[in-house]
């Protein structure tokens, strides 16, 4: 693959990471999702900016990534989940999401836009991640493995071709976003 050399060149990848991050941060700030009030508004279900940004990213990203995959240009990178890891971890994350009012990416964006509380939040996220690293050996033997999900992807779970799921999910997302607009959210 022509991209292999680029992908394995560590120095280029560090520069690419920075460039991708700059574009991501620029977009997040323009989208308003680096603001505490917008994120809390989403969790209070009074402001739907976050879900609009996320679902349109998923819609566009999914179609492009699966199209490139069909042409053999990209590989997928996803993880297997379990009740103990995904559900429990997800709920802990959610609680932190509401209390901090930023997420790991938008916290960095909020700092860039001048929010100093987000900087303290970033320190907290690193502390929490570090604490997890210490608990990891114990958790990995127990809770993280409990209730393993039966499949890695939704197409595998349903036993249908990925292309069909892409079309259905694209229609569902479009329909949901259309409904949000029609209902005036």
């Amino acid at each position: 693959m022509a991209f292999e050399q680029l992908r394995s060149d560590k120095r280029t990848q560090v520069v690419l990471g920075l460039l991708f991050g700059i574009v991501f941060g620029f977009l997040l700030q323009k989208g308003g999702v680096t603001a505490y009030g917008v994120i809390i508004g989403q969790l209070l279900l009074t402001d739907h900016t976050v879900i609009k940004v996320m679902l349109s990213a998923v819609l566009v990203g999914m179609i492009g990534v699966y199209t490139m995959k069909a042409f053999g240009l990209v590989r997928l990178h996803y993880q297997e989940g379990s009740v103990g890891a995904t559900v429990i971890g997800g709920l802990i994350f959610g609680a932190g999401f509401a209390i901090l009012g930023y997420c790991p990416g938008t916290a960095a964006g909020a700092v860039g836009a001048g929010a100093l509380d987000a900087l303290v939040g970033m320190v907290g996220i690193a502390l929490g991640a570090g604490a997890f690293a210490h608990l990891y050996p114990r958790l990995e033997r127990g809770i993280l493995r409990s209730g393993a999900f039966p499949a890695g992807t939704i197409p595998e779970l349903l036993g249908v071709r990925p292309g069909i799921v892409v079309v259905v999910v694209a229609l569902l997302i479009t329909g949901f976003l259309y409904l949000l607009e029609v209902l005036g959210f």
Binding site: G25, F26, G61, A98, A107, G112, G114, G128, A133, L139
Partner: protein, 174 residues
């Protein structure tokens, strides 16, 4: 073009579509999904490594997630710079400690807000590594790959978030 870059905000659909295109590029050029929370574990690992290199290198988690400045770590630095550029171009860069929405309910004491942010951050950092990703890694990059774990994780992020935000601010939708 310049006028557009200087606008205070863009449509969430334009922003979302832009992030979607960005994920194409991270898969194509870097063979990676766009994610943010791993960088925090790497940062914790780098700090620990500075204190005791031997102990840190022996930890199973840091063998899985090596503490080093790499692609993932630069994403976070980039976000900070990108958001600063965006906010500066539109003149909306504002230094603040207590967001107005928080101040309206919990008061303007910076100590209260900073302590809340620290505690929330700790929970979030732990939860992100526990679930294997955050709102970007699972919520956008994983869901767009139709990963089952990512759709479940994203649902749990919002269920947990909606419950706790409701406990803090009252359930506005009830």
């Amino acid at each position: 073009m310049i006028a557009w870059l200087m606008m205070a905000s863009w449509s969430p659909y334009i922003v979302g579509a832009g992030i979607g295109v960005l994920t194409w590029l991270t898969f194509l050029l870097s063979d990676r999904p766009l994610g943010c929370s791993t960088a925090y574990a790497k940062t914790a690992g780098m700090v620990e490594s500075a204190i005791s290199r031997k102990n840190t290198e022996a930890m199973p988690y840091y063998r899985k997630v090596p503490p080093a400045i790499d692609w993932q770590w630069m994403i976070i630095i980039g976000i900070l710079i990108g958001a600063f550029l965006s906010a500066s171009l539109s003149g909306s860069f504002t230094v603040l400690v207590v967001p107005p929405v928080f101040a309206a309910v919990f008061g303007t004491d910076p100590g209260v807000r900073l302590l809340t942010a620290l505690l929330g951050g700790i929970l979030m950092g732990m939860g992100a590594r526990w679930a294997g990703g955050c709102t970007s890694g699972h919520g956008i990059s994983g869901t767009l790959q139709l990963s089952l774990a990512s759709w479940v994780a994203a649902g749990c992020f919002f269920i947990g978030g909606i419950l706790v935000a409701g406990l803090m601010y009252g359930f506005a939708f009830l």
